[in-house]
């Protein structure tokens, strides 16, 4: 049920952003999910479809998810590789000090919105 709580947070963040830029409607939401966050992406997208429809901004919006792969790094021998199966041992030197360089992101990355009188206000909008 972890995915349900996350879907609610994602819609909350999208609503806040939409309100902030004065959007009338959200057309799409691009979410980035780190591989280390243990999120079932299919389940999350399914729930986003349901939860999204409860908000006047995101109703009918298309939700997309991109998985951010976990890059691992060994500070002892300098090796860097893509994580396979949560093995945090260095395959080259056996070090146990392996760190994740990426894979812990959980963010609303992009959105496409319709603004009031769309077409007059254009251009990228900065966040608050």
């Amino acid at each position: 049920m972890h995915e349900l709580a996350l879907a609610e947070e994602i819609v909350r963040v999208a609503d806040k952003e939409a309100a902030h830029v004065g959007a009338t409607r959200v057309l799409s939401v691009g979410v980035t999910v780190g591989q280390l966050m243990q999120v079932e992406v299919d389940c999350l997208l399914f729930l986003l479809g349901i939860v999204g429809d409860t908000s006047r901004y995101t109703a009918g919006a298309a939700f997309e998810a991109t998985v951010e792969p976990a890059r691992l790094h060994c500070p002892e021998c300098g090796a860097t590789w893509d994580m396979d199966d949560w093995v945090f041992l260095c395959g080259r030197c056996g070090s146990t000090e392996v760190r994740a360089l990426s894979g812990e992101r959980l963010e609303v990355t992009t959105m496409e919105v319709e603004l009031d009188g769309d077409g007059q206000r254009t251009g990228a909008t900065d966040r608050w």
Partner: protein, 236 residues
């Protein structure tokens, strides 16, 4: 149609409160331990035996989260430390705002050395929710099988310490200590593992020593555990 470059952390609301809590507890030099496991792995039992051994040695308080009932708080009350039940009414994990709501209670308890937060029984959901703790501690009981660190790697990877509980049951089970140690060390090579039985008391001394070490380190201004090294945030 306008494209927005948003890059907003989905858990920002929780993380902001957690950061505030962490700051608060840094100032108070209170070590905060977030206990996470499946239902029934022995979190409350471990706390009962831990509190019994900390009486008149440390100032401790407990917040205990459950979906329903205050049974656990009642089990923990007899040790003379302040205990507060947080009933989540359906939610499968504690969030920072629920903990913050009980901060007053924790403060009323006076200067604390150690605050335990027993999370809701679940190996997945509590993992991503920072409560401002110094350490997430994960429990796995011998009756759950050796493969749990591989099945639920995120919490075992992120925990600062792990406990294998109910070791008194080993003679009755086909449970390989070698295998569980190996699985844990695969997903989190350096993590300290305490193999304990609350029933017999075996292994509890090492766990208590570790707790004292955390308290001493925080008193002197640094954290042995390095705090929550799971740092999230916006990339841009």
């Amino acid at each position: 149609m306008v494209k927005l470059d948003v890059r907003a952390n989905v858990l920002e609301a929780n993380d902001k409160i957690a950061a505030r809590l962490r700051q608060e507890w840094r100032g108070r030099r209170t070590v905060v331990i977030n206990l996470i496991s499946s239902p029934g792995s022995g979190k409350t039992t471990l706390l009962e035996h831990t509190l019994a051994r900390l009486q008149s040695r440390l100032r401790v308080a407990v917040l205990v989260g459950d979906v329903q009932t205050d049974n656990d708080a009642r089990r923990l009350a007899p040790f003379g430390f302040p205990v507060r039940q947080i009933v989540t009414a359906g939610d499968c994990h504690l969030e920072a705002h629920l903990v913050e709501r009980h901060l007053q209670f924790v403060e009323a308890a006076g200067g604390l050395d150690l605050l335990f937060i027993e999370n809701v029984g679940n190996l997945v959901c509590p993992t991503d929710y920072d409560l401002g703790e110094d350490a997430k501690v994960v429990l796995l009981s011998t009756t759950e099988g050796e493969d749990k660190p591989l099945k639920y790697p995120a919490i075992f990877h992120r925990a600062t310490a792990a406990l294998l509980t109910k070791t008194d049951l080993l003679p009755h089970l086909d449970f390989s200590l070698e295998l569980v140690r190996h699985n844990l060390r695969t997903v989190h090579p350096g993590v300290p593992l305490f193999e304990v039985s609350a029933r017999t008391g075996v292994g509890l001394e090492a766990w208590l020593d570790w707790l004292f070490l955390q308290v001493r380190a925080k008193c002197s201004g640094n954290t042995v555990t390095g705090g929550d090294r799971h740092v999230r945030g916006r990339a841009g």
